[in-house]
Amino acid sequence: MKKLFALMLAVMMMLSCVAVTNAEAAKTSLNVCIASEPDTIDPALNSAVDGATLIIHLFSGLSKWSQDANGGLQIVPDLATELPLPVINEDGTATYTYTLVDGLKWSDGKDLTAKDFEFAWKRAASSALGADYGYMFEVVKGYPDELAVEATDDKTLVVTLNNDVSYWNELLSFPTFLPVREDVVSNEAWATDPATYVSNGAYTMTAWEHNSYITLTKNPNYFKADEITMDEINFYLSDDENNMLANYQNGDWAMIDNVPNAEIDALKAQYPTEFFVGSQMGTYYVSWNVNAEILPEGCELTGDDAEKARAEIRFALGLLFDRNYIVTEIGKAGQQPASSFVALGLTDADGAKQFYEVAGPSDEYAGYWNVSADAYEANWDTAIETLKKYYTYDEAAGKFTNFPTIEYLYNTNDGHKLIGEYLQSVFAGVGINMNLVNQEWNTFLNTRKNGDYTVARNGWLADYNDPISFLDMWVSNSGNNDSQFGKGANAEAKIYSIDLTPYGVDVKVENGTWAETYDAAIAAIKACGDKEARYGMMHAAEDLLMSTGANPAVLLHGHLHDLRERAGLLREPAGLQVLHVLHRRPVS
């Protein structure tokens, strides 16, 4: 998943390639590099962006992303004749029936049927497979091992969800939902060798020199093969940004997906039309462990009062950071300053407004604090005033004198280090001593998950456009609940309040535990079929989350509009790139 989370470096560039003059006869081909050797290109097992990019060239699902005339992205039917609305059953479950288009074939010429989808979905969701993204099927009735999906005949697929899910059609385009054939995947090594790799999409894999390159060749059995203009794509497998850049600069590769952070400014100047800043629906943030002590020694507050104080302090500390500085001086890749946890790019109930624009308590600014450059000073003052309630402040020096020394944990990486150093300098300015501690990636993940830290670097990327993908990770028993809400001492704290009665849900708690409030809200959201109410509750849940001060979002990423001028290249919201309709343009 590390590739998926290289939020800082979500930069891409491409060249209007070498001219192909003898246009008619010549086979078109393209050399690109997006990442190193993928862990897997089995659609069910993959969970990385680079693997997903290869997979969407190799497979087709029921729906796909498409660009409209204005460059906007939308979900359209792919192998399904249409994407129908569900039938809502008496028990509130929702049944979708899909019909496959005629004449679908696998790359080896065999017929593709609805049975293949049924098999693939049951396999992907099963706990026996243990796929990273198996949980994407949790909206389906019977998840994980009794999945309510059935092929009633060769062309009809019927699936029942626990309730109507607004982003269901989007999920259908996701690699985990792509079909695979039982006899193919019964060989566990099927996805590692072109000889055994059978797909149904625009391309077939014709070569895989491990750690060197993967060659995709146009699939003649693809049902829209005549629309594919690029005959062959070579995905070179490298993750060294300097090496990637050298290959781009010497003309061997037409596109690379990552550049060295230090080179960004120079490259923008050198390649004004080729350098593109992509975007991901992601948030880069700093997460506090809610069970870590940050009150001064000798503080008289105990129990719930102390918990409340810590929340207030964490929130105030978040106001000290100048997010505009981080974005322009450290990130440099088009990131946007953040004021909420749910990232830019996720839309609100009406599908037009951004979720974050509507979030937060104020009408004057979006989110939970004002990120405009003018507001920074006022934020700072507010923060200092709040902190003065709990810590001794030396007015003459402008510093707190009894804030305990804390540690900032990050995984070894220059970008993360730069941000850590910035945060350290801000805290030092007010007398807070914060040491930087870096750990190697896997150790870091383990430390953070176990809550053996005070404050840590963190990041999250949504896989589909629904804010729940940012919110359900914070329920007490979630494996991604790095802030340890509802765990340890926090499990007993009765300081959280939520009121969902305006949305027709019988949940109104004042001063309850995390489980009684947040967990209950997320459960209600997942069971809710009414879009307006659902989004209302998601805003309420985010309000509660942000009130803890545990996740002061530092950065957000840009939205997708940078890409609309690009002929044929489509970048999906989750960061996948679709190259197969890319035309080579002559160099002017």
Binding site: E188, E209, L237, S238, N480
Partner: protein
């Protein structure tokens, strides 16, 4: 072959096996003691899925049982198990894939380093204190002191980015030229210097003087007597160097994106791909042990005076 030599070889082989067993044991337990695991990711998988995966790969068993099973599979079936991260691939296949490239790269680089190093060293010694000798010494000193990441980047920028003569990526056609040069410069320079000083030493020996006095031709002295006897330190260096260079220079593989074994080793550790860590460790340890043994035996071939104990 004398029985003394046989005994020596037997002793060394047993010692090698013991060394490798210690390496296996220490690596196995340290690896499991390090925090994290192969199925840990930024997005957590469910507890059921985690349990299913651990059961599939036998990681749910007590550690000591895992250890004995692992040793047994290697000894009885030469089975290093499947990679935990690269699903569907066997560790042995991944190592062989990486070795194909690393060995090719390393053998060419080591061969060129030896040939050029010995020739340059001999020339420098024979033409001692001339401009030629000084030039060779200055250049080799520079190459010995320059880290390979600087040399590699330097060559990359000149020959690939600016001149566009050679590809920057090891997987492309002709892509191994720059990595080979980067890899050979250090050992070549080192061998040059070793050969030169050793040869100067030999050239001052009595038997060389005697040969000269007897009127043996200059070239006969150099090739027949001096050079052969100057090579002992070179051989000492060459064995381990070959093992080191063939098993993949991680730095050079990184700079030129060469799909070798070195990068696999590093990424397996980051990924906590336990079976891959074990497989690559055993492989590299064995290779180094064998190369050391071979170079010790080569002494004998070069200098019959050396006695094995």
């Amino acid at each position: 072959m004398s029985s003394k030599l046989m005994f020596y070889i037997l002793k060394r082989v047993l010692l090698a096996i013991l060394t490798i067993w210690i390496v296996i044991t220490v690596t196995f337990f340290i690896m499991h003691a390090v925090p994290g695991g192969p199925f840990v990711g930024e997005k957590a998988i469910s507890k059921e899925a985690q349990a299913a995966l651990e059961a599939k790969y036998g990681l749910d068993k007590p550690l000591f049982e895992q250890y004995t099973t692992y040793l047994r599979d290697i000894l009885t079936k030469f089975d290093f198990g499947p990679s935990l991260k690269q699903r569907g691939r066997q560790v042995i296949d991944i190592i062989m894939d990486g070795m194909k490239t690393s060995a090719k790269l390393g053998l060419i680089a080591a061969g060129l380093a030896a040939v050029f190093g010995i020739v340059l060293g001999a020339v420098a010694a024979i033409r001692r204190n001339t401009i030629l000798d000084k030039t060779i010494m200055v250049i080799t000193t520079a190459f010995v002191s320059m880290p390979s990441f600087i040399m590699g980047s330097f060559l990359l920028i000149i020959f690939s980015v600016s001149l566009k003569w050679l590809p920057a990526n090891g997987a492309m056609k002709g892509g191994l030229v720059l990595p080979v040069i980067t890899l050979m410069l250090y050992p070549m320079s080192y061998i040059t210097r070793l050969t030169r000083s050793s040869m100067l030493d030999v050239l001052g020996q009595d038997y060389i003087r005697t040969a000269r006095a007897k009127g043996v031709s200059k070239w006969r002295i150099i090739f027949g007597h001096a050079l052969k006897n100057s090579l002992i330190p070179v051989i000492t260096y060459f064995g381990p160097m070959l093992a080191f260079i063939v098993t993949g220079s991680m730095v050079v593989e990184q700079i030129f994106a060469v799909p070798g074994i070195g990068r696999q080793f590093v990424s397996s550790i980051t990924n906590r791909d336990y079976t891959m860590i074990m497989g690559t460790t055993i492989f590299l340890a064995s290779l180094i042990v064998i190369m050391n043994l071979v170079s010790d035996l080569l002494y004998k071939a070069v200098d019959p005076r050396i006695e094995f104990e």
